[in-house]
Structure formats: structure tokens, C-alpha cells
């Protein structure tokens, strides 16, 4: 067993884990943060995207021990209190989901895109930046609309203090 210490959604967490434990398993099974999903388990679909030290990563392809001393934000850490994060609200408003399985990863990727590319995102940029996130229901159209609107909204409303 190896000890890992992380800050997850603002909380300090220390645990002894088998070194082969994936970050996504640690989040879901140890911390019961089941908002982060496992889709393909082969680093293609993006359902498991979380932010590690401020960067979007596929948590099915990171060992928990590699994230030691790091800061992780999951979909559960985006909003504070009862209010949705503006990106979450935009996905609801624009019907950016059907079954919802890919949605946590889509939203974590979308927030990362805004962090890197700003609040005015054109369709081409959004589609290119979402190439690591697969959705099998929506045909992406409403997801793209939701990301564009969410990006704008993140620039307008005073953001609730995200955990990261």
C-alpha cells in the first residue's frame, strides 16, 4: 500500500491505496464521488475528466499515486451551495444532454476550455476542443450551444468560488 494525500474539491484527503488504483477509482470508490464516470476506460471517451492541478485530465489513465500532493476538482466541486455553476446551468438550459452519462466529463472539459481560451468561443473552437469527449446521444449540437452560452455566462456572473 502507498499513502496518497490530495485536496479534492477543497477537502484534504489522505488514504492508503494499492498503487494500481486509478484516480477515477479512488474518487468513486474511496471518496464516493460518483459524479465522475467511467465510460470507455481506455482514455478515449472523456466521461472521467476531472481537473488535476487546474488541468483537465482523463482520470481513468492517471494513478491515484501520481496525483499525490495534487489538487483535484470533480463535477461535485464546481458549484457551491445550491446554485449550479454557470456551465452546468447552460447545459440544462440548452438541453446539452440526453442520457447524461458523458455530461460530467463534458462540463469539466468545457470549464477547462474557458479557462484556456476565454469567454468568446466560436463553434469551430468548441468542436475541436471537445474532441476528447464522446457523446452517443445528442449529436453534439446542443452541447456546443451550451458550452458557448456557459462560457459567456462565466464571464458575466461573479463566479461562485470554485473549489480549485
Amino acid at each position: 500500500m502507498t499513502t496518497v494525500s490530495l485536496t479534492v474539491n477543497g477537502q484534504s484527503v489522505t488514504a492508503d491505496v494499492d498503487p494500481r488504483t486509478l484516480l477515477v477509482q479512488f474518487l468513486r470508490d474511496n471518496l464516493r464521488l460518483t459524479g465522475t464516470h467511467v465510460g470507455c476506460d481506455t482514455s478515449q471517451c472523456g466521461a472521467c475528466v476531472v481537473h488535476l492541478n487546474g488541468q483537465a485530465v482523463k482520470s481513468c489513465t492517471v494513478l491515484a499515486v501520481q496525483a499525490d500532493a495534487g489538487t483535484v476538482t470533480t463535477i461535485e466541486g464546481l458549484s457551491q451551495g445550491g446554485d449550479l455553476h454557470p456551465m452546468q446551468a447552460a447545459f440544462r438550459e440548452h438541453h446539452g444532454l440526453q442520457c447524461g452519462y458523458c455530461t460530467p466529463g463534458m462540463i469539466m472539459s468545457a470549464v477547462d476550455i474557458v479557462n484556456r481560451k476565454g469567454h468568446s468561443l466560436d463553434e469551430e473552437t468548441i468542436r475541436a476542443e471537445l474532441e476528447g469527449n464522446l457523446c452517443r446521444c445528442t449529436g453534439y449540437h446542443n452541447i456546443v450551444k451550451a458550452v458557448a452560452a456557459g462560457a459567456q455566462a462565466m464571464g458575466q456572473t461573479p463566479l461562485p468560488q470554485a473549489a480549485e
Binding site: D18, R20, Q55, V57
Partner: protein
Amino acid sequence: MYAFEYHRPASVKQAADLASQFEDSKFLAGGHTLLPTMKLRLAAPANLVDLGQIAELRGIERSGSTVTIGAMMKHAEVANSGDIRSSIPALAEMAELIGDPHVRNRGTIGGSIANNDPSADYPAACLALNATIVTDRRKIAADDFFQGIFSTALDEGELITRVAFQTPKQAAYAKFRNPASRYALVGVFVARHADGVRVAVTGAGSNGVFRVPEMEAALNLSFTPEALDGISVSTDAMNSDIHADAAYRAHLVGVMARRAVQAAASRS
């Protein structure tokens, strides 16, 4: 994935010592090939030596006509580096075409080169930019480093520490991506140096990355896409799979080479 012992050295020396101490060990860089391979149980090292905390393996340095990149630099860091954008923009553009944003946030240059996947992008950049691969033991010219699919000049336990690229006068990378995997179906890196043009092809060859001397000779006479008219690569040495057969790959080598020359020649 099978169980393993996890080690986290703080220096290259410690990493090398661990690798020699444990016979059945693997270096873990970004983990974006090794971890999926271990999940599939195609690899089952008893020891993983995580390079993630070794400061010596990081950094980008520009000196004279050389740009040196630490082995643990991530694709996104290379893509976004001002030093690389201004000195070898083709290299930054190549890094930005690897995988997807999340993969680029984890995958590393050292890991890509050590793995030498026949469809990886970095091996083509190393050959075209006449790179020197620096290890904890020696310096290896890119021309001697890549030795066939998943095969390199690295000895057991030898660790890539940096990669030094020769700054070209003009260069560009043209990639035909597999739309699902984003690996290169065919990628051609063309670089014009003071001492001649280099053309390197990835994704296409059944023996991994390779140079095309006929194209280089023609481009040395005239650095234009038209100079490549009538030059083709043999289908005998091409990969053939469900994504593209050998004839199609050979054709794409010509198309991508012309596009790369066009893009390189239009750079000031």
C-alpha cells in the same frame, strides 16, 4: 491491471538506481501508453518508477541553433511554449495535433520517443529536426535512435533526459489523422536546414518512422511542392490495415509531403 511496486524517485540518479536494482521495472512518464497497456495486461511490470517528481527532466531551453526539451515536458507545454513557437513553430503545431487536450496534458515527449509507436508524431519531428536524444548515459542521434516498431537504441534501464532539436530555416508537419484515434495514418515532417532538407514519415511505414532520401535530394535542388512530382514511396514497406491499405498510405505520403513543403516554404 496486475499489482506492482510503486517508486517515486526525486532525481535521475535515483531513478536509474531503482531501474538497475529491480530487474522487472518500467519507467512511468505520462502514462498514456503504459497504463492502458497494463490495463490490457499486455504489460505487467513488477515495479513502476514514476518520473513525475524529477525536476531535472523538465524545462525548455533555447541556445544558439538548438532547442532542448526536458523528457517530462508534456505535449501541451511544448505546444504552448513561446520559445518553441518562435524558434520551431512546426514543432509546437505538431504537439498540438497529438491526441486530445486531456491527453496533451499528461503525455510527454520522452515517453513518446521511448515508446516509438509507429504512428506517433514525435519520432518524425526528431528525424526531420536532426534531434539528439540525451540519456542518463550518452547522446544518441535520432538517425540511430529509432530502430523499428516499438524499438529504439535505448538499453535496459536507460533513461531519456532531454531531446535537443536543431532549429531549421523552414519546417512544417502535415498529418492525416485517423479520425477516431487521432494517431497519424500518415504524417510527414519536412525541415529545411542550412545543410540540407530532411523528410521524415510516420504512421505509414511497416518498420516505423523513416526518411525519404529521394524527396530530400529533390527538395535540396528546389524547395517546392512541384519538386516532388513523380517521386513515390514503395508500397512494399507500407503498413496495411482496416484504416488504410498500403497503396493508399503510399499515396498519402506524397500528398502530405507536398502539403508540408508548401506550408514550410511559405514561412518567412
